[in-house]
């Protein structure tokens, strides 16, 4: 809008009409005062000001207009019919006018001038607006910059407060930021920490992880600049994602020197202990072997003299003591005791003969049991025992040990039979799936379960763990023969064959021995 200020309404009318005809919006004021009032309320693109006016002349009005911040940029054109001299024109321009037009006015020229000044003013206004927008934008940018700075600061302070050496790598792989711990350790901001020659593949591995957008972690040794020594760290580099895109990587070196030292110490200790144990074990094996040799040698070498004592004693008894009723009972005690020694030695020999390793072969247990029964024929006949045997399988085992095993078990059942009852012994077997006493029958099971059942004097099950120990005899009964080694030998043989054995019984109600053996060794 254009404001025309003139104290003469006819002048205003003429100019207003011309301008309105050319599509300008026009306002008017009849005095400087009115004009100033209007200017305060409205924005004008152009003010056309008459110079000669009563009260306030044009120059004064212009000065006022230009002193308002609101209107200071509004272009002013002076229009004068009287003050045509150079000094007035100069004053007009000095007062801030953009043009000074003297009357008479050529309406076309005036129109052109107004149009061009109007356009200029409009452009200026546009520019002003644009500038404002720009300023706002700059301000917003500044704020966001400040926020970013705060965020960065926050992150950096987090990184500074971390106990690790930390760094940030941008997406092209350049180090953007390192924390103080890094500088403290490396003493340098320009270089990546020096890795130990052992870690020669680290960068390559890292690069591979970097290229495939994957988190990277590796244990490394870093050189400490001050001490020139290497310490253990865990290098971990994780991608930072924004909208699923990696924008940077955050890396840390975590000091694990202490843990490493403790770990190494522990490892060393474990190694030490292990070697101690191995040594102890070797000693034990050697000692065990010696003991076995000793017990073998002892029983073997003692056997001969005992046998001779017995033979001579029997010879003396048979030849010279048959009529000596006083000496005979005492002499019988000598023979009985010697017989006991002989039988102890025999069992000890058997026990010490179960070696550390055994040779597995296919053994027909039917054949084995046949031999056992034939070996025990005399005892079986004496007690009139009834022995019922299932068809037994072939298994992979040591034939001698299997013979010894069943011999001892059958012998055991015979020994501990009730004196006033016919001993019944039942040997049965079936395959099972697992090495367990509870395993169910399985036709193709890899283990074989045996049961040796008798109707003898039995034992109290609270002694179960004792019956398989050497020299443990639960029956201090004279009727019960035996040395207390038989079941220990059985157990030893079972263990050598990687099997298990247990027994169930009640006193005076017979016993059942249960054995589970692998059909084949592993």
């Amino acid at each position: 809008m254009i404001l025309i200020v003139d104290d003469r309404p006819e002048n205003i009318f003429a100019l207003k009409s011309t301008l309105e005809l050319n599509n300008f919006k026009v306002d008017s004021a009849l005095s400087g005062e009115e004009a100033l009032h209007k200017i305060l309320k409205k924005n004008y693109r152009l003010i056309i000001l008459d110079v000669q006016m009563p009260e306030m002349d044009g120059f004064e009005v212009a000065e006022m207009i230009l002193s308002y911040s609101k209107s200071k940029d509004t272009p002013i054109i002076f229009l004068s019919a009287i003050s045509k001299e150079k000094k007035f024109i100069t004053k007009g321009y000095k007062a801030g006018a953009i043009d000074y037009i003297t009357k008479p006015v050529d309406p076309d020229i005036l129109l052109l001038k107004v149009a061009s000044i109007y356009a200029m003013s409009e452009q200026k206004e546009e520019l002003k607006k644009m500038q404002l927008i720009l300023l706002e934008e700059i301000e917003a940018h500044k704020i966001s910059q400040r926020e970013l700075g705060a965020k960065n600061e926050e992150m950096q302070s987090v990184m500074e407060s971390m106990p690790q050496m930390a760094f940030i790598i941008n997406k092209v792989g350049e180090v953007e930021y390192i924390n103080k711990k890094w500088i403290d350790y490396i003493g340098d901001v320009k270089h990546f920490p020096e890795l130990h020659p052992d870690n020669k593949d680290t960068f390559q591995n890292w690069n591979a992880a970097f290229k495939s957008d994957k988190e990277f972690s590796e244990e490394v040794k870093l050189k400490e600049t001050n001490s020139n020594s290497y310490k253990h760290f865990i290098l971990k580099i994780i991608p930072v994602l924004q909208n699923n895109i990696i924008i940077k990587w955050v890396g840390t070196f975590t000091d694990i020197e202490q843990q490493k030292i403790v770990h190494e110490l522990l490892e060393h200790k474990v190694e030490e202990r292990t070697s101690e144990l191995v040594k102890k074990n070797e000693e034990l094996v050697a000692f065990n072997y010696e003991l076995q040799q000793l017990s073998w040698a002892l029983s073997h070498d003692l056997k001969e003299p005992v046998r001779k004592i017995l033979t001579y004693a029997n010879l003396i008894k048979d030849r010279y003591l048959q009529d000596n009723e006083r000496a005979l009972p005492h002499f019988n005690r000598i023979i009985e005791s010697s017989e006991r020694i002989a039988s102890l030695l025999n069992d000890l020999l058997d026990f010490s003969r179960v070696p550390g390793s055994i040779i597995f072969e296919e053994v027909s247990l039917n054949e084995v049991i046949k031999d056992v029964i034939s070996d025990l024929e005399i005892q079986i006949e004496q007690r009139q025992a009834v022995i019922k045997i299932d068809t037994l399988p072939n298994i992979h085992a040591s034939a001698n040990h299997m013979r010894q095993l069943f011999q001892n078990l059958v012998n055991n059942a015979l020994k501990f039979s009730k004196p006033d009852e016919i001993p019944l012994i039942n040997i049965s077997s079936y395959n099972v799936g697992e090495l367990s006493f509870n395993s169910k029958p399985a036709v193709d099971g890899k283990f074989c379960r045996f049961e040796i059942l008798d109707n003898g004097i039995g034992f109290d099950e609270k002694f179960l763990d004792k019956i398989f120990l050497v020299f443990q005899r639960l029956n201090n009964n004279n009727r019960a023969e035996g040395t207390g080694i038989g079941l220990a030998i059985v157990k030893k043989i079972i263990e050598k064959h990687h099997g298990i054995i247990t027994a169930t019984s009640k006193e005076n109600e017979g016993a059942k021995f249960i054995i589970v053996l692998p059909v084949k060794p592993n």
């Binding site: 046998r307 017995l310 033979t311 029997n314 010879l315 048979d318 025999n346 020999l349 003969r353 005399i378």
Partner: protein, 140 residues
Amino acid sequence: MALTNILLIDDDKDDQFFFIEDLGKDKNNIICHVADDSLNGLQFIKEKPHPKIIFLDLNMPQMNGFDFLEVVKNEKNVKHIPVVIYTSSNHHTDIKKAEEFKALGILTKPNKLTNISERLDKALGLQFFFYNRNYYNINQ
């Protein structure tokens, strides 16, 4: 009655005594030669007449019973002589080995005199089908 020559190879004087005592009343029909060790035993069987049967101790110095047995069973002049292992061992490995070495059987040295001659008869009587069995324990 024809006299029977037999040979005992045993280094133990007591066992020699027991063996001879054990032959008992039959010892008049039997001539028991005694060798103190395997070498003497080998020397003895070089000459005829060969003993009808040899009783052989296992545990002897220099050349043990099995060494002796191996030599005898590989010597065509003497391998027909039946050899009974006479030992205090009753261990299965020894029995098995005796069988492998083609011994007639095993006689465990007893704790008392048992009238060996009865079993001697048994052993001599059974020698012809002995090899058809796994082993024959003449204790029984």
